[in-house]
């Protein structure tokens, strides 16, 4: 079920000069966020290599992959790991383009900004590739930055793939099965539910306003409306929290949150895990022997 706002996002009137209002942009962002969560659940429930695996195995795989990516030194091997995540995405029915855009534009960009100074002669001296005075890009500096960015992209990409191919409910079950305290898991579940519920509230508020407006209003009015609604949602959130606590008490809540986790690993899951560990050892071996530092 895709929220109405996701469909009408581009159909609304534009403000002066064709610039969409802050209220509209905020509402669009909310609509798209809800749609993304719901679409993600659809993708996670569909066919695919990663979808078929036990969520605990997938979570454990993140750890194996992250450790492997952290210990690899050579750029070519890191690039192979990045390509491997793209291959897994394709095998899981995930659009490689949208997957790559998402990883590059978030984790990749962040890593690039964080390590940009280390590519300069100021931090890493060496032969200059691009002369920019004290901020000249050096060959060893560029290699260090490229390694870090590739490592982050590989790790974040695999993590994102696990999240995209696992239903939220299964992820939480897996966390519980792997020993995360039930109270923490329950809090995560309630947080997700509360966010979705509040997003729907905001969506409805916006639609109610939109249906009674003939123009987009001034930027000042729109900012005022957004701030006012934020305050309303905050109050509503606190009231809902009280009500939820009452509902928990009514069903006997006494401070602990025991749960029944019913996950069974199959031969395929064990095979995946064994292959993952073996690949990790192989990758680290190649990294150390073929590309020694």
């Amino acid at each position: 079920m895709i929220p109405a706002l996701a469909h009408i996002a581009d159909a609304s009137p534009r403000g002066r000069g064709g610039v969409r209002s802050l209220a509209r942009r905020t509402a669009d962002a909310i609509g798209h966020a809800v749609a993304e969560v719901l679409e993600n659940d659809e993708l996670a429930g569909g066919p695919g290599l990663m979808q078929a695996l036990d969520p605990r195995v997938k979570l454990a795989s993140i750890l194996v992959f992250a450790v492997t990516a952290s210990f690899v030194h050579s750029l070519p091997v890191l690039v192979v790991l990045v390509l491997a995540t793209m291959g897994l995405a394709a095998a899981s029915g995930v659009s490689v383009v949208s997957f790559s855009v998402k990883v590059w534009s978030s984790a990749g960009l962040f890593a690039l900004l964080a390590c940009a100074p280390s590519a300069t002669a100021w931090i890493t001296p060496g032969p200059v590739l691009i002369p920019l005075g004290p901020l000249s890009i050096t060959a060893p500096g560029l290699l260090i930055a490229a390694r870090l960015v590739a490592r982050v992209i590989a790790g974040a990409g695999f993590g994102l793939l696990v999240i995209w191919t696992t239903r939220w409910t299964d992820l939480l079950r897996a966390l519980s099965a792997l020993g995360v305290p039930d109270l923490v898991v329950a809090t995560l579940a309630m947080t997700q539910k509360q966010i979705m519920s509040l997003l729907r509230t905001v969506e409805n508020m916006h639609l109610a306003r939109e249906s009674r407006m003939l123009s987009t209003g001034s930027a000042r009015e729109n900012r005022g409306w957004v701030v006012d609604r934020m305050a309303f949602v905050a109050r509503r959130s606190m009231k809902t929290a009280d009500d939820v606590y009452d509902a928990m008490l009514a069903r006997g809540f006494s401070g602990s949150m025991p749960s029944l986790v019913d996950l069974r690993a199959t031969a395929r899951d064990w095979a995946w895990m064994a292959a993952g560990v073996a690949t990790s050892v192989l990758v680290l071996g190649i990294d150390r022997t073929v590309f020694p530092t």
Partner: protein
């Protein structure tokens, strides 16, 4: 036989200025099906919360199965366990009541809190899910359900605790006609099983159909009528006075009719 609930001069205030209930004298016998009706803000929901030990008397007293129902009493784990397993509460807003990861977890929450063994919990969940025909929802996250499905799951989440007393706040709210009929059938089954039900509603037709006793709360938060649905619904002046029905006029050609009119939904 001990009465299920006895309220003597019971009142509740939210702070010094906001009075929600005032001087309520009421006895609910075991096996009774009682509808509490009243306009918005008359105190129906507060009364249910008091019966469930979620709000407490600020004046007067209330007992449940012969024991005082107070905050201190519910701090006793043995009493709390016994009381919570005996009295179930279905909230008006199903979204509030559904706070677990999946529908399965939701149905298992109450029995697990009661300390039942896992096999027993699983069998209760399967039994209730089958009886309410929600098996296909068990793996879903509650926030992805429709309004009617949420209501079913909310009711199921209480039924797995096998309560003897069921409190329901506006049970027919947000239900489509088919689900309303289903709910009335469920209430009918409980009546035959001898379980106690107290519903708060201003859906007069649902209240009359599912209950054998009707209690009317006034806008001054007091009980102003207590009798069978037939007796209460016959008092049109009283129902007009407490804002449960209103005068409605319309025309048939040249003829103008004026008659009382009841609403089966919340006034905004």
């Amino acid at each position: 036989m001990t009465a299920e609930f006895v309220l003597s001069g019971a009142g509740h205030s939210y702070g010094p200025a906001i009075r929600a209930l005032d001087g309520i004298d009421l006895t609910v016998e075991a096996g009774e099906h009682v509808a509490v009706v009243g306009a918005n803000g008359s105190g129906k929901s507060t009364l249910l919360k008091m019966l469930d030990g979620l709000a407490f008397c600020t004046s007067g007293t209330i007992t449940a199965a012969g024991r005082p129902l107070t905050e201190e009493a519910l701090e006793d784990p043995a009493f709390r366990r016994e009381f919570r397993s005996r009295v179930g509460f279905v909230f008006q807003d199903a979204d509030v009541q559904l706070f677990c990861n999946t529908v399965f977890d939701e149905l298992a929450f109450g029995p697990l809190q009661l300390g039942l063994d896992h096999e027993d919990v699983r069998s209760r969940v399967a039994e209730v899910a089958a009886s309410l025909r929600i098996e296909r929802l068990l793996d879903r996250a509650p926030y992805t359900l429709s309004g009617g499905e949420k209501k079913r799951v909310a009711i199921a989440s209480v039924l797995t605790m096998r309560p003897q007393v069921l409190l329901m706040d506006e049970p027919t709210n947000a239900l489509d006609p088919r689900s309303q009929v289903w709910l009335l059938d469920v209430l009918d089954e409980w009546k035959r099983a001898g379980r106690t039900v107290v519903i708060a509603t201003h859906d007069l037709s649902a209240a009359a159909e599912s209950c054998d006793r009707m209690i009317v709360l006034s806008e001054e938060h007091r009980v102003v009528a207590d009798g069978t649905p037939e007796e209460v619904l016959a008092q049109r002046d009283l129902l007009l006075g407490v804002n449960l029905i209103h005068q409605h006029s319309h025309r048939h050609g040249a003829d103008r009719h004026v008659h009382p009119h009841a609403h089966e939904h919340e006034h905004a």
